[in-house]
Amino acid sequence: MKSQYWRLAFGLITSFVVNSASAQRVDLEVQKILGQSFQAKGIAGLDRLVQDENQALCSDEKLRSSKAGLAKQAQLQKVALAAIKPPSDGIYVGDWKSGERIAQSGRGSTWTDAANTTNGGSCYNCHQIDKKEISHGNIGPSLIAYGKTRGYSEEITKYTWNRINNSKAYNACSNMPRFGHFQLLTEQQIKDVLALLLDPQSPVNQ
Amino acid sequence: MADPMRVRATESGGVVDVKILMKHDMETGQRKDSSGKTIPSWHIAHVAIKAKDKEVFRGQFGTAISKDPFLNVKFKGAVKGDEVVVSWVDSKGESRTDKAIVS
């Protein structure tokens, strides 16, 4: 059973290598060991070890900062930006209270979660947001007074929308997950998180 | 049978300092298992410490005491080389007794 899984994954990996061989080097030895070292569990299948172009590039410390790597990053950013969809009803700003709950939650998508578990945004894991929450990470920048300091312009709103949807549209090797791209958050959830940052009533802007 | 405790007793200036670690899950009765069933409460209820056949401390624990309970108490009336005996009884009636020599 297990070996069946990894053979499946290895098949996926191999086909990916063929598809993107021109894009970057994929380390076959690493892929092989990973295929042997992991097992599917719950909703986390071995397919999750298959890298897309962006992940493969950013995993290669040397390549990503080389001249060719930087050019590749710029190209990936362009593609990512073009793929972001604006809100279907044209409304960007949702409910900041719901946004705060999403920002607090680090749940979803792990092998202990059910397929229908609502994902959180895990925002506080890396960002300071509402200053009342003292338990916040610092991998990402502080977002205190986000709207107050940047303003509530259309430009800032669209930029923020894009950044939550796909941070890699601005920095291909950003540490921030691609919430829209991988449908980690729904459109409504993204609106609500955006509201947490850009609603003048949000505690972030008090 | 219940797992052993770790008991340390040190004497300084006539006061014996006793540090105890007990191995116990201390189930609150609030947790649910993976199938959604409530796990019944199960906790150490009584702790007693004796030195030279005399009780020097007694305590009662509720479910809010942390898993693998830690207890630090002090008493007078024993010297280096004396034996300190610690016992607990839990809410299911299981018990454990361990000893340490005062150093």
């Binding site: 607090q104 939650s105 680090g106 749940r107 979803g108 792990t110 202990t112 979660d113 959180g120 895990s122 506080y124 894991n125 003292i134 338990s135 | 006061v15 201390m26 609150t28 609030q30 209820a45 009584h46 007693a48 410490i49 004796k50 056949d53 005399k54 009780e55 020097v56 401390f57 007694r58 305590g59 009662q60 624990f61 509720g62 479910t63 809010a64 005491i65 942390s66 898993k67 309970p69 830690f70 207890l71 630090n72 108490v73 002090k74 008493f75 007078k76 009336g77 005996v85 610690v86 016992s87 607990w88 009884v89 009636g93 018990s95 007794t97």
Partner: protein
Amino acid sequence: MNKQRRSVVQITALIGLMVTTGLISQSQAQDWNKAAFDGKSLDDVMKALGASGFEKSNAITLNAPDIAENGAVVPVGVVTSLKATQMAILVEKNPSALAAQFFFPEGAQPFVTTRVKMAQSSNVYGLVKADGKWFVASKEVKVTLGGCGG
């Protein structure tokens, strides 16, 4: 009620001395202060302990952190210059407020440290009974969310 309880404690202590294996006699084991441990609110517990008329006291030091990295283990210590015969640790916002109760026979020092679970940020109370009266010190402990939260 209080007087009655104390006499029960004394009798069971005597029985305890006669038991050679283990230190806790059967009757002692049955003497668990159910009413106090079952009490939900601070008031319930204070009543069950007979401590409703408690006084605040500077002679009690409650050692607990301002912020706990995890609510599953919050160190709490009580030490006093009073002649304590009993102590108790209460967490106001826990489902049942009483965490532990301690008895100090002759020779015991009025000092105890243990670790409690806290469901959320709350006031923590250290109670001391001395000369038949209850005294209290309290402090707020913030419980933080930690880790990746998955």
